[in-house]
Amino acid sequence: MKKILSTNEFLVALIIIVLSIIIGSKNSVFFTAGNLIDLLRSGIVMGIFAIGVLIVIVSGGIDVSFTAIASFCMYTTTKVLNYYDFQGSVLIAFVLAGAMGLILGLINATFISFFKLPTLIVTLGTASMYSGFLLAFVGVREISNLPAGMSKFAKMNILKVTSENGVVSSLHFSILILIAVVIITWLLLRYTMLGRGIYAIGGDRVAAERAGFNITAIQFFIYGFVGLLSGIAGIVHTTLMRNSNPVNLLGMELIVIAAVVLGGARITGGHGTVLGTLLGLFLVIIMNNSLILLGVPSYWQRLVIGILILIGTGATAYRTMRSSRQLHRNSVG
C-alpha cells in the first residue's frame, strides 16, 4: 500500500483530483458530460504522440521531430489523395501516412544508430528538414476540402451529448485508435523482451549490450514506431480539424514531452509508464482547457504548466535523493 502511495502515478492522480474539485466547485460546467467529452477529444492526438514520446524517453533518448513527421505525413497524404481524387476508404490514408511516418522515423534511427549522434541533435535537425521539405516542395496552403474517405471518417462519432443550452459535444471514433495504441504499447513494454530491452537500454546501455540486446534493432524499432504513430496521429488530427494545415501541429512537441515527463518518465531514461503518461497528459489537458473555466487568462496556462513540471520533476528528484540518503544511513548499522 505504501508503495502505491509513493508512486509518481498516485501523485499525479491526486493533483488531477484536487484540481478537478477546485475547478468543479467554481464552475459547474466542468463536471458536465459535454465538457468531459471535449477534454477526451482534445487529448486524442496528443495522446498518440505522448505514447511515442514515452518509448523514446524510456530508452534514454528524446524525439522532437514527431510533430514535423505528423505534419509531413498528413499534408502529403491529403494532397496526394486529392490529386488522384481518391474516393476510397480512410484506411488508405492511414496506411499511406503511417508508411511515410515509418520511413521518416527510420531515417532518424539511421542517424542515431549508425552515426551515434545524440538523439536531440538528430531529431532537431530532421524536424527542421522534414518540415522545410514539406513547405518547399509539397505546399504551404491549408487544404480544407479533404478526400472523401477522410471527410466521411470525420463524421464518425461514437457518442454525442447535447447540453442544456444546445451545445453538441461528440466523442470521435479515433478515441478507439488511441485506446488501441495505449493497450498495444502497454503490452509491448510490459510483456515483451523488446519492451524490456527498451527499459534496459535506458537503464544502462553498456549493460544492455553485454546482456545480448541488439541495440541497433531496438533503436530502429523505437524511432520507426514513433514515426508510424506520428503518421497516424497526423491523419487523426486532420480529420478532427477537418482541414490539413502543414504548420499548425508544429510547436506541440514541447507540451507533449512535458506531459510525459510530468507523468513520471525520467528524461535520463529507464523510467516511465503508460499509465503515468496518460495521467500526465490528462493533467496538462485539464490545464489547457479548464483554466479558462476558472477565469484564468490563457497566458497563465503556460506559466502554470511550467510550474507544474518543475514541481513534478522536482518531487521525483527529491524522493530519489531522500531514498538514497536513507540507504546510506541504513548501512551504518
Binding site: V206, G269, S324
Partner: protein, 497 residues
Amino acid sequence: MMQEHLIKVTNVSKSFAGVQALKNIDLTIKRGEIRCLAGENGCGKSTLIKIISGAHVPDEGDIEINGKHYKRLHPIEAIREGIQVIYQDFSIFPNLTAAENIALNSELAKNRRFVNWKRVKSIAKEAIRKIDVNIDLDAKVENLSVADKQLIAISRALLQNAKLIIMDEPTTALTQKEVNALFKVVKSLQQKGISILFVSHKLDEVFDLAEKITILRNGQNVIDGDTSQFDKEKFVYYMTGRKISESHYELQQESNQCLLKVEKLSQKGSFYDISFDLYSGEILGITGLLGSGRTELAMALFGLNPADSGRIYVEDRLTEIKTVQDAIKNRIAYVPEDRLTEGLFLQQSIGRNIIISTVEKLLNKYKLIDSEKMNIQINHWVKELNIATPSTHLPVQALSGGNQQRVVLAKWLATNPKILILNGPTVGVDIGSKTDIHQIIRELAQQGVGVIVISDDIPELLHNCNRILIMRKGRIVGEFGGKSITEKELAHQLSAT
C-alpha cells in the same frame, strides 16, 4: 570423460597498435578451483579476461574450454561454454527490479520473446536460494546496496550455467563484513564445482581465498603457483618487480604546533561530539565502517557539508568553515573518496586538472592565463609526483588509477596546504603506486603538513599513521598509536558493534 581442467590457455599473445599487451601467456584452471589473477594496472589482466570471455581475439595461441579448441572465441560461445564475467560495475540495470535483473540475461539467452513475470520471479527466487542470500527481489536495484548488487550479478551468472566465474576486483566497494559474506558465497560456489578467477591485488584477500595464484607483469606470466608458496614479500615482488619494504611512520620530533583542533563537532544523523587535535608533521588516521560518519566528518572539515555545532580552531584561531572557500583560505585541502566523480575533470587534460585549483595565481596582468607560468607549474608537479604520461595534454581518464590519484594530489598540493585531508587515498590503486603515494604523504608530513588519512585499508593505516582514531556510529570510540595495535585488533575494533 571430463577433463580435469576446465580451461587451458596456451601461448596466447595480443598486441594493440604495436603495443604488446600480452606475450605468450599460459593459464590452466581446474574445475572447482579458486584462482587469483594479480598484477598492477596495465599488466594485461583485463586483456586476458577479455580474451577468455571472447571480447578480444588473440593474435596467436590456443584456448581450450571443456575439451574444445578455439582459435577465436566469440562472446556468445564463451557464454555457452559457461564463462561469466562479473564486471566491476556489475553491468546491471538500476531502473529494473532485482528479480528482473537476475532473470533477464538468461531469458534473453534462451531467445524468449515474451516476459512471464511469474517465471521471472521464480527463477530469481531459485537463483538467490542457490547462493543462500536474502535480497528484496521487488526492490529497484538503484535502491540496493553495493553488496546486494554484486550478489545479483553473481546469481545472474549462475543462472547462465556458469562453470567459470571471473570476478574483476569484486571487493573494491565493499566493507569488511560484506567481503566476508562474499567469500562465503565464493567458497560455496567452489563446492558446487564452479571455478573462480578472482582478479585482485589486495594481498589479504588473495591469501584468504585463492588456492593458486597467477601473477602478470608487463603482459607476461611471471609466476604461477600454489598460494602456500607465496608470502607477502614474494607476492609484492612479483607484481611490482621491486622489493617494497613496509615500515612504520614515526614522528620526527614531537611538535607542539597544533594545526587543527576540533571540539565537540556534531552533525545530526552523521557524527556527534567529535574532538581531536592534529599537530604539524602528524599523519592521523581516521577509520570506521562505511557509514560510520568518517566521510561526513571530512566533508564538514572541508566546508562541503558544514557541521551543525562545535568549534574548529586552525592554528589556534577559532575559525568558521562553512564553505569550501573558507577551507581553502585556511589552507585546508581535501582529496575526495571518489576521484572519478568528485576529484577530477575526466575529459580535461592532465595539465588543466593540475592547475585548476590555483588558476588565479597563474594570471598575467591582463587577467589571462600566463601559459609559461602554467607550463612551469604543470611540469613541476608531473615531475615531483612522478606522473607517468607521454603528454600532459592527454585527458586524465587515459591514466591508470594510481596516476589519476597523483593528479588529484598534485592539484591540491599546488595550493600549498597546511592541512591535507585524504579520503581513501589508495582505493583502486595498484601496489607500486600505493607505495609511492604513501611515500609522498610521508614526505609532506615531514615538511610540516598535518595529514588526515581516512581509510578502511588497515595495513595502510598501521604503516603510515602515527595515530589512528576509530569511528563507530558517528562517534570516536578509540584512539591508538600506529605501532601499538595489530591488524587483527584494529579489524576487530572496526567491526565491533
